[in-house]
């Protein structure tokens, strides 16, 4: 894919992410026996927030909100343009760092608590993504996304344990129950995003749509060159994490980090070691 196509696709990804979020809200409502909002609801929210007056705490805080959007967008662009997987991961970490710094820069205690928990989220799930990048390299022989997408191997068959680990940590990256301690709407009212309003909240809100595509693109990569299998994996993981979101309660941050470090990361490492042994 050329850079221009990737650029246009990255711009469109905002709309696709909005649809995914709208679909998620409907699916979640149906699972709870409700009707749920219309599919276009995220866009209604988007245009309404455009019209709201924005209250700026201080300019740096507002700037960090916008940088969070740009950072996630750039991480997605790296993925879609077939760039290096590790660079995409690091840009994603950077964009979350913007959110965290913004969260720490205001005096609201909820914002500070949320930013701290956001850091713990990163501690929990980021190693898993780096490990999966390494594992994809071992299977396909390249860190380039374009190479992985055209590879003859299907990484899923070599990395089943790692796939399960990434699937179970999806709620952590998308901040859904059971791993939604950073956002925790009933408890700390959105965490680092609590002080954003109007257009700046809109930036944070749309950045979350882009994170959906970012996370699901990772799932898609596990199918390698087999794109139909990839689409099936994405659809399965979408419904799976919605189900998980609905049937589980929030765990505290210790349990979240412990679950990632004692169960998911060892699973991933075992898979990685087996594949390395088998290859040599």
């Amino acid at each position: 894919m050329s850079y221009w196509e990737a650029f246009i696709l990255t711009l469109i990804s905002l709309v696709i992410g909005g649809f995914i979020y709208g679909l998620e809200r409907i699916v979640r409502a149906r699972m709870q026996g409700r009707v749920g909002p219309p599919l276009l609801q995220p866009f209604y929210d988007f245009f309404k927030l455009m019209d709201k007056r924005s209250i700026i705490i201080h300019s740096f805080h507002a700037f960090m909100g916008v940088m969070y959007l740009i950072g996630t967008w750039f991480a997605l662009f790296v993925l879609l343009s077939g760039g290096d997987l590790l660079i995409a991961i690091f840009f994603h970490v950077l964009s979350l760092a913007f959110l965290v710094v913004g969260g720490f820069s205001v005096r609201s205690p909820y914002s500070v608590i949320g930013a701290m928990r956001e850091l713990l989220h990163m501690v929990a799930y980021e190693p898993l993504y780096v490990l999966s990048a390494a594992a994809l390299y071992l299977v396909t022989g390249t860190f380039q996304v374009s190479g992985i997408l055209h590879s003859n191997h299907t990484p899923l068959f070599y990395l089943p344990l790692l796939f399960v680990a990434v699937l179970l940590s999806l709620p952590a990256i998308l901040k859904k129950s059971p791993f939604d301690t950073a956002e925790a709407h009933q408890e700390i009212i959105g965490g680092p995003e609590i002080e954003y309003s109007g257009k700046f909240y809109e930036a944070v809100y749309t950045a979350k749509w882009i994170e959906y595509i970012y996370a699901f693109f990772f799932i898609f990569l596990f199918a390698g060159g087999n794109h139909i299998l990839g689409a099936l994996l994405v659809i399965f993981s979408f419904f799976f994490f919605n189900l998980l979101d609905n049937v589980t309660a929030r765990v505290n941050f210790r349990q979240m980090v412990a679950f990632h470090w004692y169960i998911l990361i060892p699973l991933a490492v075992i898979n990685l070691m087996l594949i390395a042994l088998w290859r040599s």
């Binding site: 026996g33 909002p37 309404k48 019209d51 709201k52 009212i189 309003s197 909240y201």
Partner: protein, 176 residues
Amino acid sequence: MDFKSFRKKSPWILHYNTGSCNGCDIEILACLAPKYDIERFGALNRGNPKQSDILIVTGPVTKRAKERLLRLYLEMPEPKVVVAVGACACSGGVFRHMYNVENGVDKVIPVDVYVPGCAARPEAIIDGVIKALEILEKKGKEVELPRWCSVEVKPPVNRVKLLNRCLEELHGRRRG
């Protein structure tokens, strides 16, 4: 482009209890539950004043709650509307003229829609919210202050100073 028509499609709700008996609050929660499900209309209970459009207030506004009520109201960005839900919030209800209450929400902040009832039924609350959305669509974006408040608003608005001046006046004010 005119975004005003999108206001009524995504009303985000902030709910505050100013010393109510919890009857009205339960009914508001019933609106969000599967039977009435106001998320069909895009309404979400945000619990965050900075991202909400509709302030739903229950209770007769006790002495302790009035400062918080004013803070929440001034922290909400414009355009915004206030819905007073229940007999207490409209007029003080059974608590009217007691030493510790303010006799209704409109003694502290401007109210757009009154929903009577003890407790107000979910249908009545939904109706009130729909009425509030009609008002919200016509509202401008200038800063609104309570009637008793004599603070002048000059753009650019410094919200912290505005809030502090309003609070000073609230505490200095005699009960009328």
